[in-house]
Symmetry: C2
Subunit: 387 residues, 2 copies
């Protein structure tokens, strides 16, 4: 990002934002037209100067600092909803994902009737949010599968010993699963401590790969206390992890960015736990902007989200929009894998591949256990479903 500067630093009267671009956010606003227009104007100040406009010291603040309503219109086929496109100076985001998110939805997350519908980053934003390192084609290269959806499963349930988990991981790899992740609730519990679990599972997958000629990866969960995430991720890679599972609802989206941009250099899988409150209501952040755009901007190579028809409430329309946001043109960012999940069974797989196409990670967890005692055979049936 070209840094923007102000002319004149000392007298406080002549400063003016120069050279700065602007990014835009489309907000869905609920109410009659007058109310919605008022909300749009309010967002322009609430998210930036957070100060009554009439009290702004004359000349002291560059006009460009404030949000600007670029477009305002009724939402087509809606009843009492408006779409306001508001632009913000790149410089307000300070080249930080955290502050970018704060401008997009900080204080207004506490106001009613506002939803982030869509985010349009600018070149300035892309200069520090360059997105995934691997994306769809990179992850396909890692697991060596180019012509079909990827198979994705989870080591579970919580409570198994690390040894039992490794045995499961081995069977998954033997049976043909491409990406084998920890259940997202596995962190560093005494019954399967992080180090023992990651070491055993990574070894198990490596051995199965060698024995059966496969390139499956083991993806441990590195969601952890703030000061331990990077160390766990780094250690996981040393032990043989082929990717990292992160839950940004618990550790912040910036944890994904920092891992993705680090020299650890293995694919990142984002998990949706604890972040659902943004996506469920009419307010918050639209699920495609959240699970698609924001996860991708943060640097995730795959975004796990609750699929329709399972045990979570998103609609098919919402889920397809997430997949679109994961893979559509977004600056020069690589497309990423949508990973629909949550109560999926083998019988859902055809529908999933029909809906999402080939560039999808089909995640079946508990559903791989219910169809027979032989996990390897179950995985083979899973593979047959996507071929």
């Amino acid at each position: 990002m070209k840094r923007v500067f102000f002319e004149g630093y000392d007298d406080g009267r002549t400063r003016r934002l120069i050279g700065g671009g602007r990014f835009s956010v489309v907000y869905r606003l609920y109410g009659d037209e007058q109310t919605a227009r008022g909300m749009a104007e309010d967002i322009c100040t609430e998210q930036t100067v957070e100060f009554p406009v009439r009290l702004l010291p004359p000349g002291a603040i560059p006009q460009e600092i404030m949000g600007r309503v670029e477009d305002f219109r009724p939402e087509p086929e809606s009843d009492g909803r408006y779409l306001a496109t508001i632009s913000f100076a790149d410089e307000t985001a300070a080249m930080e994902l955290t502050q970018f998110l704060n401008v997009v939805f900080g204080n207004i997350s506490i106001k009613r009737g506002i939803q982030v519908a869509r985010i349009y980053p600018s070149d300035g934003i892309y200069s520090f949010l360059s997105g995934p390192r691997f994306g769809v084609s990179g992850l396909r290269g890692v697991v060596g599968v180019f012509d079909r959806p990827l198979l994705f499963t989870a080591i579970k349930p919580m409570g198994l010993s690390a040894r039992d988990m490794a045995a499961l991981a081995s069977r998954f790899a033997e049976g043909g699963v491409d990406v084998i992740k920890d259940d997202h609730g596995l962190t560093n519990q005494t019954f399967a401590p992080f180090e023992e679990r990651v070491c055993r599972c990574a070894d198990a997958v490596r051995e199965a790969n060698a024995k059966f000629g496969r390139k499956a990866i083991y993806v441990p969960n590195v969601t952890a206390p703030a000061t331990q995430i990077m160390a766990r991720a780094s250690h996981a890679k040393e032990m043989g992890a082929g990717g990292l599972l992160v839950t940004p609802g618990l550790v912040g989206l910036d944890a994904i960015r920092s891992l993705s941009g680090s020299d650890i250099g293995i694919p990142i899988f984002a998990h949706p736990a604890f972040i659902g409150s943004y996506a469920l209501g009419k307010e918050g952040i639209a699920c495609d902007a959240l699970f698609g755009t924001l996860m991708r901007l943060s640097g995730a190579d795959a975004t796990i989200f609750p699929n329709y028809g399972g045990r979570f409430p998103l609609s098919k329309t919402e889920c397809l929009a997430i997949a679109d946001a994961a893979r559509e043109k977004l600056g020069t960012l690589k497309p990423i894998f949508p990973a629909p999940a949550g109560g999926m069974e083998l019988r859902n797989v055809r529908e999933m591949t029909l809906s999402y196409g080939s560039d999808v990670l089909v995640l079946i967890g508990g559903g791989l256990f219910g169809i027979g005692q032989d996990i390897v055979a179950n995985c083979r049936r899973f593979l047959d479903e996507v071929k």
Copy 2:
């Protein structure tokens, strides 16, 4: 926390959780009785094993791993709401705030009709979440004010130069404000870079304190990219910061815990930006559990929240519940300051001190500017209102 272990590690059949305590969460469930009972049972597995109970390998998983419904009843004076108290094994939380939050509300954040109403930590949880370092009495000691509400304001608006900000900070301190924070949107923008801003503002407050015999503190915003938070906080203290402002919605609640437990050792102020989506709806996390209990468990010494009667939608009942959760008995954790805010003016101060009592941080930001050109005089009027 006494670590819990399993008997027998290798055969996977005889392990049993021993010595472990359980923490409890009260969930508010929406629906008829049968639906709500089903939701309660579902939470017990969704938040732990995340696995169909009928498929659990016999004997391999200690029964204690799963959540347990301890109480279930209609919510008094409600129409179609139930309260389910569910206990979880301490060990599922792995002595990590992040995983504790995941057990409390991870996957079920994506389900409808569930609100975290109240959290009852156990001794095991308190062993790693020991709460604030300063709390009410500690922060009073820092600013040397023992007999009245504390005055709290923000340096704003975004767009001022660091020099102008420092001039403002000086006037606030001269006028009698006790705690002078950065506006939460100030991070490291070119117009007032972190280092220059913190250095100038800390100096300005120190000089005003010396000149006018005061003990005001300057509280810079250290909300930042994940890998920079600790460094900015540490550097801020070196430059003379008297406290730290953190927005856990952007960086995770664990950032508060890690700062509070670090050797930086200055008070932590939690800001509510970007976390509102949890608190606004009937789902999510009840605002007293979020802004009160969780901020305090994380280690915040003061919790800023949107007050009733301003520009945010919380009700008086909700705000008083937040203040209660900030100050009521919670293990041996120190009580913390509620800091109601958001569009407050001098004319709101009496009502605020009547509602919240003396142990409150009264935060007025933009409202301190509208009553006259002389900021020092405005602060004196603010002080008069709480005396």
